[in-house]
Amino acid sequence: MAAVETSAPPGPTTPAQPGRRKLTGYWLLLPGALWLGVFFVIPFYSLLATSLYDPKGSVLGGYDVTFHLANFVDAIRDNADVLVRSLWYAGLATLFCLLLGYVLAYAIAFKAGRWRNLLLVLVIAPFFTSFLVRTLSWKLILADDGFVVNTLQTLHLMGDNDRLLATPVAVIAGLTYNFLPFMVLPLYASLEKIDHRLIEAAGDLYASPVRAWFKVTWPLSLPGVVAGTLLTFIPAAGDYINASLLGSPNQRMVGNVIQNLFSATGDYAAAGALSVILLTIIIGLVLIYVRTAGTEDLV
């Protein structure tokens, strides 16, 4: 409402004009509202309804919305370990993405010179093949008989019976690999905007390069850090491809459980409840995070 009030011109004007302006504003909102309605509000309600299905429903017999709130209790009780594991894996992957991505984005923004565009294209290049195919190829690379494991075993960095595939290492590495571009691009965008003279100015004002990074570059790149970590953490927490292809059943993430409940068991109620719980946890974490990072304007 406030937006409409301020968009009306101040002071006395002809009475017809503000009304027409207001209407124009609403018409302009329409495509966005429709988009949100079709692709967010309706699916969200559908998911919410699913989480309240009668747990006795079945694919063949149908499902009724009986507001069975115990679905949530059951979902948390049955999947607490998986939820914790998902957040832990996604958090670690986000941290690794940040460490790798910051160095990469920094190098591209400040040191790459004429290679900059080429490097950016290379960062995006993995998107030209499908997520699934890329993850499958990691399965080949990390295979027990593959050259990575063989090399590490030859160097005695791994025992003969150790493996990479079907371990948390492989799953977290897969998540890190797959979501790295989502970290690099916002980081690059915010680093690239930093006026190089600010860093010179910090050096001129007695800040060593390390201090200058902490006092100037890092705080100015924070919007990119926040955007990048959110873009990495949120999809990573709900991902199931990496855990299912690179992990064993002991590395299952919440995405795998939801997928399994939906497509194998047909237990829509539990699947819906678990999805809503995941959504709530992520929104909660994001709010806390963004508040702490001091970039409320992103929310």
Binding site: G62, A166, P249, A264, D267
Partner: protein, 389 residues
């Protein structure tokens, strides 16, 4: 200040709007319920365009159909040559439940699945027939089926007179291992517990195969078991999973992990190992016993080439064609007379127990109990809790 009362009014208005919105939301949620998926195959059928449109669209499991071999045409190409029907054949069935997920929305609401035929395992075939998604076969158009189907498969409980289904191949579930990497695995119990196999075995996502074999460890009969026996078997599985013994629960793709060396031993289907063409891979019947099953040709509702599909069934029930097929995929052949026909095609396979099992072999095979809808949900749920979560 005059603002105070305004703020008070605003708060109340906001609260009221929130309450209305919340109640409205709750009221609208039941709209998102889902109806049942039962259909009546008599109502939900399409006109047969077979005569006019000489095509046939089939979905089957991978590695399940012979291929052209030098100058010998595959059975599929011979069928096309003989009938003039163009077959679109896709191997997109990897797992019964996964495939069920692919077609349930269409078939459950009387829409076309865009297929004229697919092959599914007994229990899934039973379930689909039960909810009316499958068209009845015209008996007069499949004479070979009724003449040549082997006796053991002719009268199953869920389709006593084979009015809706025709077995494509039958098979056994047992163990496969890589003899170069690991010493012989003789029992299913070894598979689940042997320390040298830790993290290097895979099991199948087919609940009936996996749980059946585990029940056999305890001597439980998978066709007649109690809840306590089920629970005991489930506990064995849970322990194996938590100990990290199991690397993956898979569909048909297990054979790739086995060939790649990521998995050294696994639960396997009899024909796959022979088909893999790798001499290091061995199929073993576990000492506890094996599971037996069949995949069935089914014609779904709204299929538009019913008569062509029936010609296909009748064609594959010709003993010579059946022998050629079995020679390729090494599964149990459901067609009488194929063993004699095999003598001409590949004498080595005439006495292959995996294709033509003797009575003695069949005596150690088991099938899984028929389950009610409630039992399906309960057992599938239990199983998924262990394999998926």
């Amino acid at each position: 200040m005059p603002g105070d009362s305004r703020i008070g009014r605003r708060t109340i208005l906001k609260g009221a709007a929130g309450a209305v919105f919340g109640l409205g939301s709750v009221a609208v949620l039941p709209v998102f319920g889902q109806g049942g998926k039962k259909q009546d195959p008599a109502q939900c059928r399409a006109d047969d365009e077979s005569a006019r449109d000489k095509r046939l669209v089939i979905s089957n499991w991978p590695e399940y159909l012979d291929e052209d071999d030098g100058k010998n045409l595959s059975t599929l190409h011979l069928f096309e040559k003989k009938t003039g029907i163009k077959v679109s054949y896709t191997d997109d069935v990897n797992d019964n439940i996964e495939f069920f997920g692919k077609v349930k929305n269409q078939l459950g609401s009387c829409q076309s699945s865009k297929r004229d035929m697919f092959m599914l395992t007994d229990w899934m075939a039973a379930r689909m027939i039960q909810v009316g998604w499958i068209q009845e076969l015209d008996k007069t158009k499949v004479p070979n089926l009724h003449a040549n189907l082997i006796d053991s498969l002719a009268h199953v409980g869920w389709d006593p007179n084979r009015e809706y289904s025709a077995p494509w191949q039958s098979g056994l579930t047992g163990i496969a291992y890589n003899k170069k990497k690991v010493k012989e695995v003789r029992t299913f119990e070894e598979l689940l517990t042997r320390p040298d196999l830790r993290g290097r075995i895979s099991l199948l996502t087919e609940m009936r195969d996996t749980m059946g074999l585990i029940m056999l460890i305890d001597g439980t009969d998978p066709s007649r078991f109690t809840q306590a026996q089920w629970d005991k078997a489930l506990e064995r599985l849970r322990k194996a999973r938590h100990d990290g013994q199991v690397r993956a629960f898979t569909g048909n793709e297990y054979i790739q992990d086995l060939a790649a060396g990521n998995v050294v031993a696994c639960e396997a289907w009899s024909g796959d190992v022979a088909n893999a063409g790798n001499d290091d891979l061995v199929f073993v019947p576990p000492e506890e016993g094996m599971m037996i099953w069949a995949d069935n040709m089914l014609i779904p509702n709204l299929a538009t080439h019913t008569a062509n599909a029936e010609r296909w069934i009748d064609y594959y029930y010709d003993p010579e064609v059946a022998a050629k097929l079995a020679d390729y995929n090494q599964y149990i052949c459901p067609v009488k007379g194929a063993q004699q026909a095999m003598e001409k095609i590949d004498p080595d396979n005439v006495d292959n127990e995996l294709i033509f099992p003797t009575e003695k072999t069949l005596s150690v095979t088991h099938s899984f109990m028929a389950l009610s809808e409630d039992q399906i949900r309960s057992y599938e749920g239990d199983f998924a809790d262990v394999t998926g979560g």
